[in-house]
Symmetry: C2
Subunit: 291 residues, 2 copies
């Protein structure tokens, strides 16, 4: 495995395993330059071009599998595997577990993140994915597949003024990354209020709002790198000065003083452990000095 | 005129004339408790319950006038006047000018803010409204009628990722208030990126994002007071640390470091000259000490 592109290998952070994680905001380009999916494949351990696709989140997996099989094959995947898991029973099947262990890339499609966690949570399959990830496999997910990656995830909440107590529903996610909350389709569906509410309820979480055809790579040291054609918004709530959230009844509007936001575009980064915005120039320098 | 409810009468700020300004985010309640429109009427000079409605922004003024005539009459307006101005010719008519001068409340409906400025800009009618406002009349506007109130206004920009150079169109507004930019339907249409782009192009402007059935009252000292059932979001860009906006071509995504946001609810305020968030408790105290 060649780590020359990793800007932060020297300062490993406990929240991130050995393999890369790629969270995609949904609607990633599957037609023209395929920037994000190419990058996913490039992050896999060298020599391993096998890809496992898990469409458990989707209500229409039979339509979804061929799309990703086609696109990953076009960009150089050697073998595609359908991990066709629709029940908790399926998530115990030895054959799926064996397949996942062989793959350098494990990809979660979009759909409903609650279906994903409901079926995979606590399963031997999820355990096998975690082990593969620790050994260096890249785990990638789009839309619901991205939202479910963190320890705590958002699974609902109307964007049209979600800044009301209890409007945003949270639950446990797949736990590939801690301390952050990921939201997808973030700019396109105007979901800023969702991560503001999350920050109000617990300022510790750093919100990562992914735009469509945009993604973050979680590098092992704790640095997020933005890729894709749009934006990644960081919602930083630890400096919140005051809020009325603890005094409210369900549905009442939340007041909030001093939320900080950053807008990243491709090539820019954010250092989660040190809570620091990284410009494209800086990120390129960091990658350069480590090569 | 009784100013006991004004928390900041002692420190008059040049950007605000003598009368109150009320900017409403659109879709204000016209059926049940009518909180915002009642407040508008209460801010008019004592003893003057005449209301002028200007539906110039609307493409369907004949449908709009009866709605506001009905609701203002229900809450105690004594006389309603249609300032039926559809052309620049109309905006010179002496009859309209005389009517506006008699009214304690001048209300701008929603529609298209560019139609409003295109027809009213530089007209004797606008001059008369400004004079009335300086003498104490309340000027209120909803949706486009709110967006047009400031010296510089937004008139377009798709909310689905407006954070791209040139995506947000700006022009000169009606000039009732300076140094800020007002956006309406802000949470419901996910317009955060619009005010982030405005802040990137000129960090001096303080963005005021009005939720639906929510409004701000601009008190003469420079304090905004939030009212209504939803949120008012303050977008503060003066602490932006870095941005690539000057280097971009049209349509390219904007990177932005450190935008500060506050969420106000009814009773909360923001001190524009001192750039300070004011909790409901503080705002009530400020009003109390000045009474």
């Amino acid at each position: 495995m060649n780590d020359s592109a990793n800007p932060t290998e020297t300062t490993k952070h406990p929240w991130q395993k050995n393999g890369r994680l790629v969270a995609i905001g949904g609607a990633e380009d599957k037609e023209s330059d395929l920037e994000i999916l190419r990058r996913v494949l490039d992050l896999a351990p060298e020599g391993n071009r096998q890809v496992a696709v898990i469409a458990t989140a989707s209500g229409i997996p039979d339509e979804i599998y061929p799309i990703y099989e086609d696109v990953f094959s076009r960009i150089g995947a050697e073998r595609m595997h359908r991990i066709d898991v629709r029940t908790r029973e399926d998530a115990r099947e030895e054959q799926h577990i064996e397949t996942v262990k062989r793959c350098g890339t494990i990809f979660f499609t979009g759909g409903d993140q609650l279906r994903l966690t409901n079926i995979l949570g606590g399963s031997p399959l999820l355990e096998a994915i975690r082990e593969s990830h620790e050994k260096g496999a890249v785990v990638a997910g789009t839309s619901a597949g991205a939202a479910a990656m963190s320890t705590t995830m958002i699974y609902n909440g109307q964007a049209a003024d979600a800044l009301r107590k209890g409007a945003v529903r949270m639950s446990s996610g797949l736990g590939f990354v801690e301390d952050i909350i990921i939201d997808s389709h973030f700019l396109e569906r105007g979901r800023f209020t969702r991560l503001m509410e999350v920050g109000a309820t617990n300022p510790e979480y750093i919100g990562v709002g992914l735009g469509e055809d945009s993604a973050v790579i979680f590098h092992p040291g704790g640095v997020l790198e933005a890729i894709g054609s749009g934006h990644v918004i960081i919602v930083y709530s630890r400096d919140i000065q005051s809020s009325n959230v603890a005094e409210l009844n369900d549905g009442e509007p939340v007041a909030l003083e001093h939320v900080i936001m950053h807008a990243l575009i491709s090539g820019y980064g954010y250092d989660v452990p040190n809570q620091r915005y990284i410009t494209a120039t800086e990120l390129a320098e960091m990658a350069g000095t480590n090569s």
